[in-house]
C-alpha cells in the first residue's frame, strides 16, 4: 500500500515552458528571413501611370518584369537621359529583350511556360516608340500576354 501513498503527495510537475519563447522567436526569424521580397534595384525613374480598369497580377511565379524609363538622377551622367530598358539589374537594349524572355522562360516550371505574363513597368513619361519596339520583340518570341502595370487611380491624373 505504501507504494500508492507515495505518489499521492506529488502533483504532476509543471511543464517547463521556458524554451517556448525561443521556439516562437525561431519561427519569427524564420518567417522574417524566408520572406524574400525580390525586387530588382531600379536604375530608372519608374513612376507608373494611373488607370482604374485594372486587373490584379497575382501569382508572381508567372510574371516576367521589364522596366523602362529614364535613368534615375544618379545615372544620368553615365547613361544620359533618354529612356532605356532595364532587365533584372542592368540596362539593356531592345535587341536583348528577346533573349531575356527566353532565358526567363527557361527558368520557369514546364507547366507554367505557356501561361507567363510579361509585366511592362514603364515610366509615364516614356515615349511610345520604345514600348512599340519592346512589344515587337515580345511578339518575335511569342510572349503575347502582356500587362501594362499601372497604379490604381483616375485616368485624369495622366493628363495635365
Amino acid at each position: 500500500m505504501s507504494k500508492f501513498k507515495k505518489k499521492k503527495g506529488g502533483e504532476s510537475p509543471a511543464i517547463n515552458t521556458a524554451s517556448l519563447p525561443d521556439i516562437v522567436f525561431m519561427l519569427l526569424f524564420f518567417f522574417m528571413v524566408a520572406t524574400v521580397m525580390r525586387d530588382s534595384t531600379l536604375l530608372i525613374v519608374n513612376k507608373l501611370p494611373a488607370a482604374d480598369q485594372v486587373e490584379k497580377l497575382d501569382k508572381k511565379d508567372r510574371v516576367m518584369y521589364i522596366y523602362a524609363g529614364k535613368p534615375s538622377s544618379r545615372y544620368v551622367d553615365k547613361y544620359g537621359s533618354t529612356a532605356r530598358i532595364q532587365l533584372n539589374d542592368k540596362f539593356a537594349t531592345v535587341s536583348e529583350v528577346g533573349a531575356f524572355i527566353l532565358a526567363e522562360r527557361a527558368t520557369k516550371r514546364q507547366e507554367l511556360q505557356n501561361v507567363l505574363t510579361t509585366a511592362l513597368k514603364v515610366d509615364s513619361e516614356t515615349k511610345m516608340g520604345l514600348i512599340q519596339d519592346i512589344k515587337q520583340e515580345l511578339r518575335k518570341v511569342s510572349a503575347l500576354k502582356i500587362n501594362y502595370t499601372t497604379r490604381v487611380g483616375d485616368y485624369t491624373q495622366n493628363i495635365n
Partner: protein
Amino acid sequence: MAKRAAPEVNAGSMADIAFLLLIFFLVTTTIETDSGLNRKLPPMEDQVDPPIIRQKNIFTVLVSKNDQLLVEEELADIKDLRSLAVEFLDNGGGVGDEACAYCQGKRDESSSDNPDKAIISLKSDRETTYKVYIAVQNELVAAYNELRNREFLRLNPNLGLNYVEAQKKYDDPRTSEDDREELKPMLDVVKQMYPQKLSEAESSSKSS
C-alpha cells in the same frame, strides 16, 4: 547582512509577447501585388488571307505625337472617349443574321453591325507619351466593362455583383471551386456578348 538572492524574472509571458509579435507581422505584412491592364499581342505570323472587315465596323482611335486624340478622324477629348466607344460598340446596326438583340444603341447604319464584329483600332505615334496612351487604353477597357456590367446585371439580377466584381471574385484565390464553377458560365456569356476586340496597331510613323 544576509546576501539576498536575486529574484528570478518571470519569463512565462515572454511566449505571449513573441506570439503577439509574430501575429502582428503575419497580419501586417502585405506583399504588394501589382495590377494593370492585361492585353494580348497579335502573333507574329501574318495571316494568309486577312478577314475582310468593313470600314464601318472599325473604330479608329489615334493618339498623335502631341498627345492629341483623333477618334474616327475627328479631334476629340478623352473625356468623351468612353461614351463614344460605348456608342460604337452598342450600336447594333446589323440586320438579319447580323442583328444584335441585346444592343441598346441607335442602330445607325453607318456604325458597327454588332459587338462581335466591332473592332477598336488603337494607333499611336512613336512620340506619344505612355501615360496618355494608358489613359486611352483605360477608357476603352472601361467602355467594354460598362457594357459587360450592364448585360451581366440584366442576366443575373439576383447575384448582387456586376461583371467587374464577379470577375474579381472569380480571380480571387480564396473563392471556392464551387463558386468559381458557378460564375464561369455567367462571365463567359457576357464576354461573348461583348468580346474585347481591341487592336493595338504599330506606330503610324514608322520609317520602314
